[in-house]
Symmetry: C2
Subunit: 335 residues, 2 copies
């Protein structure tokens, strides 16, 4: 069998690959009883004394490397910071592994490093180690960023902790990153202002946590979009999630482009968003706190967790529909 | 200016790139007063309580991915484990970032994961997090492995700690990894048994440390070979190193192939070796301990540190010669 792009698209096919080929063949997958690989959460943890080290990684191969709203450097920092932040951890340090094509422009490399620097300052995270390889076997620069953060022992927020009655909150407009990339890659002729939402959201999450809001589960809805994140949270928490279509924060521009292209905004990647399951009593206050921050200004309570069904269900004006786990990449109807 | 393969070859040109383009443009490069990026050591550290978290990364783009003596999976685990181990740290966990070409064989992927698993068992290290991307912009699978280890606070072993009089010890035969790769890549027609030395050497180093040997500096002589590692140690420690040509552990086969190809074995990469600066009084005992372990059986005391000169000098039967920091890749004279 051959690897297809679906194996890297953040849906069901990728998950099966990870479970059946990777996880199945690895025997040492956790340390000191921490959150291990088998949890398939945004990060893993290593308990040390009264703390847990939180550890994660993402590799980035985005095309084009400079896109509306950001670039591969900003993406590499934000993606990893966000996977730490959604564990309730404070991101401390990143590693920077670069694979650079022979013949790549030094000026472009410097632009990327400067963007990385700006993003680390926003997130207040350090780059403390790295590696540089040059290859004639890659088209474009690839960046893999691992991250180390810290959380009090036992306080990591899992994606499997959704409780009955929890409010489901998303921190802002969905679908922008994936759509911005798609449009700039395929060279569509639309006049659009759609920009990637790529941003480190650790400060936003820290603010919510510092105000004592009880977050029972959290995830960044990246590849696979909100549909993937909600399905994972529901399944791992053994609970159902109901969302309301009219509560979903989606810009008009994203919505109309999705309509034209036949795409479901729920399945499109975000790179500066978080979805939380928040204790019902804390939901309104959580929303207020989010809305005070520029990165949370479009936050919405989009639904609630329930024992009345499994999986993710969306209430629409024409009735209820199941929101499935995406299979692979969202493919535009026109191309 | 364009990036060339020399920028990724682990010599002077790569170091200049790292210093002038990467380090210069990054503003947050250390955490809590730990060993930061500016040290350009094998790993960085983050002090937490009475411990330091040790953090490193290496990206791997080896061609071919299966080679005599190992494969990219074994390499990815060993390289990262070794960068933690040469800090005197105990490796705890690795992250596994895969970039897989579209059309890659699933069976080959599984072979690589199984090799990763075997190597993690040898090193007793866990894989706790990862990421999987599929790209049509890469020729072959790329693996970036970051690693987290732990050391008692203030006990990390730097590459800048060489003291006058220290014995310089290398743990075994040099030049095998780079030569094995070169021969299998270029399709030379030599009959050879040369195999990569790729192996995790943390257990070997732990044994030496557990016997109370005082190691003042340590490095794994990977890209750039022993010449690079010794030059870095000497320069950063502000001291000279003298080595003896007739003490260098080199197999006959590697030596004669290097002679034919016009290569200097001192500049060829190793992936299962360590070079240590050991307190003079401990040197013989250190050598004994190393030799008891299969991975250290060819260990040798190859020289000593001195204030009489700067840089690295080699005594040969025809006199002394300077061992320069390599510029970039070792290029075979015949091709
Ligand atoms: N190559 C791999 N090796 C080991 N674990 C992996 C690998 N790829 C993914 N995983 C694990 O599978 C889970 C899901 O990975 P995924 O990359 O989808 O998460 P994510 O980083 O939160 O999402 P995204 O990559 O879209 O930002 C994580 O727990 C991750 O550690
Ligand atoms: N892209 C990068 N970003 C930040 N730091 C880097 C980068 N590349 C290398 N460095 C830093 O430069 C130093 C030298 O890196 P190098 O990769 O040569 O070390 P190494 O891993 O010990 O050697 P090798 O990669 O040959 O195994 C290290 O401290 C590393 O953290
Ligand atoms: Mg995530
Ligand atoms: Mg991620
Ligand atoms: Mg390296
Ligand atoms: Mg090293
Ligand atoms: Mg290394
Ligand atoms: Mg990921």
């Amino acid at each position: 069998m051959k690897i297809t792009r679906m194996h890297g698209a953040g849906g069901k096919i990728m998950q099966d690959l990870i479970k059946n080929i990777i996880l199945k063949n690895l025997e040492i997958t956790s340390v000191n009883g921490g959150i291990g690989l088998e949890s398939l959460d945004d990060s893993a943890t290593i308990p040390i004394g009264d703390k847990e080290i939180v550890f994660t990684v993402d590799g980035h191969t985005v095309k084009p490397i400079f896109f509306p709203g950001g670039d591969i450097g900003r993406l590499a920092v934000s993606g990893t910071v966000n996977d730490l932040a959604v564990m309730g951890a404070k991101p401390l340090a990143l590693s920077l592994s670069l694979i650079i094509p022979e013949g790549f422009n030094l000026e472009d490399l410097e632009k990327i490093i400067k963007s990385i620097n700006e993003t680390t300052k926003e997130a207040e995270v350090a780059i403390i180690t790295g590696d540089t390889k040059v290859s004639d076997g890659v088209d474009d620069v690839i960046i893999s960023t691992a991250g180390v953060g810290i959380v009090d022992r036992g306080k990591a927020i899992r994606d499997c902790g959704v409780k009955e009655g929890d409010a489901i909150i998303v921190s802002g407009n969905i679908g922008e990153h994936g759509l911005a990339i798609l449009l700039s890659r395929e060279g569509f002729d639309f006049e659009t202002d759609i920009k990637s939402d790529v941003a480190p959201i650790n400060k936003l999450i820290e603010k919510v946590l510092s105000e004592g809001i009880q977050i029972n589960a959290m995830k960044d809805p990246t590849r696979g979009g909100l549909a993937d994140a909600l399905n994972e949270m529901a399944e791992k928490s053994n609970i159902g999630i109901t969302i309301f279509e009219d509560k979903l924060p989606i810009s008009e521009e994203v919505q109309s482009l999705c309509d034209i292209l036949g795409l479901d905004p729920l399945t499109i990647a975000n790179e500066g968003k978080v979805v939380m399951a928040v204790k019902k009593e804390d939901a309104e206050r959580c929303l207020e706190i989010l809305k005070e921050h520029p990165l949370g200004k479009n936050a919405e309570i989009i639904g609630y967790a329930t024992k009345e069904h499994k999986g993710v269900v969306m209430e629409t004006i024409v009735g209820r529909r199941i929101v499935d786990m995406p299979i692979g990449d969202p493919i535009p109807r026109v191309c």
